[in-house]
């Protein structure tokens, strides 16, 4: 079996089997939250892991996806599903416009520029209170899927529904990212990550490929934000905030930013711990910082790839 199919099989089995071990219905919500975070983190695997470009502002795109679901139904009369698509279109368009100039920057400079982008978006969401409800947030309409299923004679709890829905979207997202890995575009991204100079001389339009990775990862973040908003039925500007961006990157780095499965693993740990341990919740920001430092020092490849290496022995290439 190809690694891609193995990864997808493992992922699907875990999503399907996990509920059998849930002590209570509360865990469906945690599961759904994990999957929603994992979607954004999968996008970062493409941007950071494949293409080697950092972003500290991707929560901004999650914010656009989230507020599209709050605002488009009310002001444009769109159904929530169409609002998700509108959000992705806006995020993609913004990523394309902003990405063109800033992806010419490298390393820290790109980090700071994306940081600025994220802060800008979250400030707009906080300040334009007559539209967005300001820092208190805004209510988000019901997706309507539960009602639809009920009319079809299938009664399902909100937790279960969101678990299934977010899990499905996450697996779909993982499938796309794994397809990309072993494709001409994926190889071009990984090549420019390895050596930009060599990639250019091999005929790769580096600027164009970075832009593609940036736009695709923005779409992942946007979908993640939309699902979060529709599940919680309430959204605040925090979704676009700096801490959320840092959380995404830490999840990706903890699990192993080069691998889709690793990044989802990282999302699982850093989403579940604060939910399950209240102590952790209080000090979440400190713990995020600490995790980041420790991973960088001890597990630069990320948790999952490092574990796999240990298991296979030192030179298990």
């Amino acid at each position: 079996m190809k690694p891609k199919h193995l990864s997808l099989l493992v992922l699907t089995l875990l999503v399907v089997a996990a509920p059998f071990f849930f002590p209570s219905g509360f865990y469906y919500r945690i599961g759904a939250l994990i999957f929603i975070n994992a979607i954004a983190v999968t996008g970062l695997v493409i941007l950071i892991g494949y293409a080697g470009q950092i972003s500290l502002g991707h929560a901004g795109f999650a914010g656009i996806g989230a507020y599209a679901c709050a605002l488009a139904p009310e002001h444009l009369g769109l159904p929530p599903v169409a609002a998700i698509l509108l959000g992705t279109a806006l995020s993609a368009a913004l990523a394309w416009l902003v990405g063109k100039p800033i992806l010419r920057l490298h390393g820290y400079y790109l980090g700071v520029a994306t940081l600025g982008l994220g802060i800008l978006i979250s400030m707009v969401l906080s300040n334009e209170a007559q539209w967005t409800g300001g820092p208190d947030g805004i209510a988000v309409p019901d997706l309507g899927l539960r009602g639809l299923l009920r009319d079809l004679g299938w009664r399902i709890g909100a937790g279960e529904l969101w678990y299934g829905l977010a899990g499905t979207v996450m697996i779909l997202g993982a499938w796309l990212a794994l397809n990309l890995f072993d494709s001409p575009t994926g190889r071009a991204l990984r090549a420019l990550h390895g050596s930009e100079v060599a990639a250019r001389t091999m005929g790769i339009d580096v600027a164009r490929h970075k832009l593609h990775a940036f736009v695709v990862s923005a779409v992942y973040a946007s979908v993640s934000g939309s699902l979060l908003a529709l599940m919680n039925r309430l959204i605040t500007p925090d979704v676009a905030g700096f801490m959320h961006s840092v959380q995404m990157v830490t999840m990706a780095v903890l699990g192993g930013v080069g691998s889709v499965l690793g990044a989802i693993f990282g999302a699982t740990i850093l989403t579940a711990l604060p939910q399950l341990l209240t102590v952790f919740h209080q000090y979440e920001h400190m713990v995020l910082g600490l995790v980041m430092i420790l991973v960088m020092i001890f597990l630069p490849d990320g948790l999952l790839p490092s574990l796999m290496k240990r298991l296979r022995g030192r030179d298990g290439e």
């Binding site: 990309l180 190889r187 090549a191 001389t201 091999m202 005929g203």
Partner: protein, 263 residues
């Protein structure tokens, strides 16, 4: 016959210091031209200007009669200009096979959406690309290591990998920057054989190499650089007797080697 690659008065300065100054020469289709000269003479800088990585401050580069001065490297690749690097530039986390497949990039493009969805167009291109990349790896003797990550390979192996990757572009002209530097005798032999074989297949080669025996044997034409200037040019035997060249680069020992090589 007109030249494939024409270098016309090329020069560049870094912060007021001239690294290459008014260098001109030409490479004809299928010909091997070598650029020699002491370390720091400006050979790599010349390659970087030709391949679009540095913008020259003076002069022109023409490929098949069309001006390509300071053109983006990825557009030069499209026109059939390919190169290797003196200080390795491999894609360390990718397998050897994938490294060479990147050289097929221009032929295997299918579009981001198609690649994300894994459409048959993308998958078919990946398969075809892998097949011909494997053949290229076999040509440089690395097919057994095709699925190993490049960063796990020896220096000599990576030198050959860079040649295979550069050939994947199916270039008209190949720029080789010290392809045998740092290689042991066996590996050097292997690379010599490879260069001759590439030239026989009709690919023009612009070569920078310190192994004078090799250079004298295979070059149609030599260009000698010193302190960024061209101090001599011509057939190997002529250049080897040039007193200026002997003083700047070859020295007495080098000349003996050269005369010996001429047999």
């Amino acid at each position: 016959m007109s030249a494939l690659l024409e270098i016309d008065g090329l020069g560049i300065a870094f912060g007021g210091i001239t690294a290459v100054d008014d260098v001109s020469f030409a490479v004809r289709a299928g010909e091997i031209v070598s650029v020699i000269g002491p370390n720091g003479a400006g050979k790599t800088t010349l390659f970087n200007m030709i391949s679009g990585l540095y913008r020259p401050s003076q002069g022109k580069v023409r490929l098949e009669g069309a001006e390509i001065t300071a053109m983006e490297p990825h557009l030069l690749a499209r026109r059939g200009l390919s190169r290797t690097f003196q200080n390795l530039q491999v894609f360390g986390e990718m397998t050897l096979l994938e490294n060479v497949m990147v050289g097929h990039h221009l032929r295997e493009k299918a579009g981001v959406l198609s690649d994300l969805l894994g459409l048959p167009a993308s998958r078919q291109k990946t398969r075809a690309s892998a097949e011909s990349a494997l053949a290229l790896l076999a040509r440089v003797g690395l097919e057994k290591a095709a699925y190993r990550a490049a960063r796990t390979m020896s220096y000599g192996a990576l030198k050959r990998l860079e040649i295979a990757r550069a050939l994947a572009l199916a270039p008209k002209i190949l720029l080789l920057d010290e392809p045998a530097a740092g290689c042991n005798a066996v590996e050097t032999e292997e690379i010599d054989r490879l260069i001759a074989e590439i030239a026989r297949a009709g690919v023009a080669i612009l070569l920078v190499e310190h192994d004078m025996k090799l250079v004298m044997k295979i070059s149609a034409h030599l260009v000698v650089l010193d302190h960024g200037r061209k101090i001599a040019e011509g057939a190997p035997a002529e250049v080897a007797r040039d007193p200026q060249v002997i003083a700047a680069y070859l020295g007495q020992h080098g000349q003996e080697q050269v005369l010996h090589a001429e047999g």
